[in-house]
Structures are given as structure tokens and as C-alpha cells.
Symmetry: C2
């Protein structure tokens, strides 16, 4: 393992070796704060980064759990969203409307996961990798709800920006509906509200018809 | 309730009123991404914001739970850290070494909590307020561990910055030890490692003796 952030200023030699691996990982992930997303913030005139986005999802899980169609373990769902974008530290963000980048996405992300979770002690790395795999597979109720949050959150930001990434060249309101439909796999009520936002956005010309 | 971020672009009138309150809150908290802390990032040359910090703590809870002195509910501890700084949206960040601001901190934060959690449906607001109160009171094992994370995280960033806020005028290595001692209420092992970082930082002149 080379070129870790922590190598720039190694931890004191007295730190226990298992804990050193944990802390090295926790320093490495500081880079998630520098991975920019396409979405604009509602509260400031700049793009959001992955760490801010992940925090927002964790709070959304807590706040919106009552709308889940199936019972979910809230704490476990929070783990999924806190971890879900970590591999973008090495693989970068793949904007939802960029089909070219999306083609190579899985391969790039698998390699990034091997590298990043490999920093941790083996058992801990395996556990965190399993959370990432669970989120991606979208088979458990928790993963479906986590994914719904991941799609609903930028929709709220785009609403506040009166379009935001809905205005990406070539994207139509129907494209937005298609990419957001997974919200309905986690919550019918939230999917209904999402459609109200997209419909109204289209009516106002914030998304192309 | 006036001057909410969501008032700048009201949600469509068709959205169910309870859900509207939830979403209004989730839009309002976007402002946490604009509250700057004193700590410098390890991965970029800028200060950290509260949303990034809160995400980092949530991941630290998951990663370091095995070092807790008492058994903790990891999901519940994650809720505490995700919520713990929210009131700074209205009350601002109070840097740990700023004793003047610290004097008015509790009053400012209580008022902010009333205002912010009041946006939510009453039951949801009460629940979130209880989490914030629990974190502040530091009586439960989960709150003690959450607080330990809150103190350990900037210590890692300061280490990577070869001093960071340890270099605040008038602050000594012993001040740092005193402010960080609560880490030991959550985890003896992590407190031992924290002291190793502070001791070595003092030896290298990154914190005044
Ligand atoms: Ca704080």
C-alpha cells in the first residue's frame, strides 16, 4: 500500500499496530471532502462534496425512516449511506447523467474498494466492504431505502436551485423520472413527492419536456 | 417560523403536510455545510465544515467502536454524532480554545435547538432534541463515546497539519491535554493514543510546552 495521506506525516511509532491501521484509514478518508459532486448546495453558491452529501443522507435516513415501505434497521441503513461513496476517493464521482463514465464505473469502483478497504485490519475491511456491496446490490430493505435517500437528496437540492443538474444538456424531465424511479423501491410516499417536484419543475421550465 | 431556506422556493402545494415539515427541515440543515470549524483538513488546504466533520465522526464511530470501554449501540451513537452540531446552523461553531464565546455557548445553543427542531413535526422534533440533549449530557455510554470521537477527530487533523489549532496563541500542550481528556471517558485505549500524538507533537514543537 503506497501513497497514503497518513504517510505524509506518520503516526508516532508507539501507537498499537491494529489501531494504527484504523487511524490510517480514518485519515485517508479525509479525501472524501474533496470529491465534488454535480449538485449545487441550497445554502451556498458552490457544488456539494461527497462527505457533506453522505452526512445529509445519514440525517435523511433518521428523519424519513417512517416513510419506508418495509421495516428498516435505521442504524444499519445509516452505516450504508456513510460508507456508500467512500470508494469515490479513488474512483471519482460518476454524475448520474454521464453515460460514458458510467460504462467503466463498476470496474473502477471495484478496484478502488480493494485498495481503500485494504487499509483496514482484515476483519474490519471485510465488514466495510460488505456494507458497500450491500448498498450496491439493493436487495435488502435497508439498501433500497439508502438508495432512495441517495436519489432524493440531490432532487431536493435541484429543486432549491430551480433546476440544477436537471438542466444538463440533453437531459429531459423523463430522464430525471427514469433515474429517480428507484426511490419508489424504498418508499412509495417519497416517490410520489419526488414526482410532484419533478412535475412542477417541468411545468416551470426547470427541466426540459 | 420565518426566514427558512425552503421559503426561498416553496415546495409544491400538493406535498403532504407532515412530509413537507420533514423536507423543510432537511433543506434547512443544508446550512451545516457552510458552518466553518477551526480545524484544517488533512486532504486540502482549507478549513473543515460541520457537515464534513459530522460525517467523519459517524464513520469513526463505526470504525472505532471496538475500542469503547463499555458496550455501545453503534447505530444510536451514529445518530448522536450526525445530530450533535446541527444547532450550530443558528448558534455558530464555538472553537474549543475560545473561552469568551464558550461563556454564552449554552444559552445560544438552547435557543437554536428550539428554533431548529421546531421545524419538524412535534414528535420528530422531540426525538431529535432528545438526541442532542443526550450527546450534551454525556451520561450514556453512547454519548461518552460520541464525545470522544468529537475530540479525537480534530486531533487527527491537527496531527496531519503539524499543529493546526494547537498553535492557537496562548494554547499550550497541557491545555490540549485538558480539553481532550474526555476521550478517556469513552475509551482508555483511544485516550492513550491521543496522548501519544499530543506528547510527540509537543516534542516536535507543534504545541507549546
Ligand atoms: Ca462543535
Amino acid at each position: 500500500m503506497t501513497d497514503l495521506l497518513a504517510d505524509q506525516n506518520p503516526l508516532p511509532s508507539g501507537v498499537d499496530s491494529r489501531l494504527r491501521d484504523h487511524l490510517t484509514f480514518l485519515i485517508e478518508v479525509d479525501q472524501l471532502k474533496t470529491v465534488l459532486r454535480a449538485s449545487p448546495l441550497a445554502a451556498a453558491d458552490r457544488r456539494e462534496n461527497d462527505a457533506e452529501h453522505s452526512w445529509h443522507l445519514a440525517l435523511m435516513v433518521m428523519t424519513l425512516a417512517e416513510y419506508a415501505d418495509e421495516p428498516i434497521d435505521v442504524g444499519h441503513t445509516m452505516k450504508l449511506v456513510v460508507v456508500h461513496d467512500l470508494i469515490e476517493i479513488y474512483a471519482g464521482d460518476t454524475p448520474i447523467y454521464d453515460t460514458e463514465l458510467a460504462a467503466s464505473q463498476q470496474e473502477r469502483e471495484e478496484a478502488a474498494a480493494d485498495r481503500l478497504f485494504g487499509i483496514l485490519p482484515e476483519d474490519a475491511g471485510r465488514e466495510m466492504r460488505a456494507l458497500w456491496d450491500e448498498f450496491e446490490a439493493r436487495v435488502t430493505p435497508e439498501a433500497r431505502f439508502a438508495k432512495a435517500m441517495d436519489r432524493l437528496q440531490p432532487l431536493l437540492l435541484n429543486w432549491m436551485a430551480k433546476g440544477g443538474t436537471w438542466r444538463t444538456p440533453g437531459v429531459t424531465a423523463d430522464d430525471v423520472r427514469a433515474r429517480k424511479a428507484v426511490i419508489g423501491e424504498g418508499s412509495e410516499k417519497l416517490w410520489k413527492a419526488a414526482l410532484q417536484l419533478i412535475d412542477e419543475g417541468e411545468r416551470r421550465g426547470w427541466a426540459r419536456s
